[in-house]
């Protein structure tokens, strides 16, 4: 059986990973695992946080080459803070996603990183955007990424409902991450979750032993 992921071709430290973001009624949940590996054999970090805050209410998850992703998010963070000073208003989520997209598209030959950008803004409320490897930008209500995401496409398709409550969405995200970490050898560790709503940002960390268990464990 072939593994369908581009991460396995990444040189150096890769975030062979599982990331996801889902909108619910009033906000978004963004989550990721916490494992960084080299070549799928050595876990170089068990507790890396792949959910980066690029602005007050906008977060980005990275997948692919860790080095590329870190460099791009640092550049995006700077760009966005400058942008928000100029506009005298917090940036829109799509602005953050576009900044990442520009960087990915213009440097597509050198970079190997994809992003999920999610957050809340006053204009459109909760949103999730995906920037893929080559620099395509699309908006979706729920999205998953990284090598572990292949195993949970079926689960996400079946279980996601638009306009869930915050608790339902958190449970959905935790379950999805736990399932992916259970099947993908390059995803694991703890589950980092961030809930973004109009009123604020809440971090939830679910350690490995507190993750939901399924029938075969």
């Amino acid at each position: 059986m072939e593994k369908r992921c581009t991460d396995s071709q990444v040189k150096g430290v890769s975030t062979g990973t599982t990331i996801l973001a889902a909108t619910f009624d009033g906000g978004v949940v963004i989550g990721s695992d916490s494992r960084a590996s080299i070549g799928g054999e050595y876990v170089s970090s068990k507790t890396i946080n792949k959910v980066i805050q690029v602005h007050d209410r906008i977060f980005s998850c990275m997948a692919g080459s860790l080095a590329d992703a870190q460099a791009v998010t640092k550049a995006a963070k700077f760009h966005l803070s400058f942008h928000s000073v100029q506009m005298e208003t917090p940036p829109l989520v799509i602005a953050a996603a576009s900044v990442l997209k520009e960087l990915c598209y213009k440097n597509k030959d050198e970079l190997q990183a994809g992003f999920i950008t999610a957050g809340w803004d006053r204009k459109k409320g909760p949103q999730v955007y995906v920037v893929s490897l080559g620099g395509m930008l699309i908006s979706q209500p729920v999205t998953i990424g990284g090598s572990g995401s292949t195993y949970i496409y079926g689960y996400v398709d079946a279980k996601y409902k638009p306009n869930m409550s915050k608790e339902e969405c958190l449970q959905f995200a935790t379950n999805a991450l736990a399932l992916a970490m259970g099947r993908d050898n390059v995803s694991g560790g703890v589950a980092h979750l961030v809930v973004v709503t109009e009123t604020g940002v809440e971090h939830v960390v679910v350690p490995g032993d507190k993750l939901p268990k399924f029938h075969n464990e």
Binding site: P141, G154, D157, A158, Y160, R183, N216
Partner: protein, 211 residues
Amino acid sequence: MLEETGPEWLSEEVKTGTTIIAIEFDGGVVLGSDSRVSAGSSVVNRVMNKLSPLHDKIYCALSGSAADAQTIAEMVNYQLDVHSQKIHLIPFFLFLQSLHFIYYMSLNRHLFNGNLIGWQTGVFATLNGLLTRQPFAVGGSGSSYVYGFVDAEYRKGMNKEECQQFVVNTLSLAMNRDGSSGGVAYIVSIDEHGTEEKVILGNDLPTFFDQ
């Protein structure tokens, strides 16, 4: 295209890039598969039944190279047929022997489903030669997308209807995501009363939030 090589389906091997699933319940088993056979990016058969009978109450689900899988299934069918003439109950060791025969050919993966009368009911999965008995098994290219779903949704002690619904849901999710799986869903349910084959057409398959 400027090349003279002709269409790729003439040179590509025909594969059953596929989704197959088998699940055991108290009193029998349910098997399911999609129906797409592809040669490269061309679908050469959109209604192939990949659930192949090896005996009255033993079915197997095929994946991998279509030609190899079909041939092996027919060979095993013949072997079991010949031996069952002499002895009405198929001894379990013979069943295992025929599976072993498949490993020697070291081809592809097959999911086996056995309901040997009065002896054993079970789902056996063969992965390039490893034989394991499991309460349920998924295989084929589409199976990667539904590992999470089956892990979450499988419960012990489901009855036959629940198993059938579980199989249909799983196939539907996999067919939506896997380019090499699609078409209709074939379901086979085996219990002490007999074997029941069903086809669920594309438009009757369950749909999900984004459809």
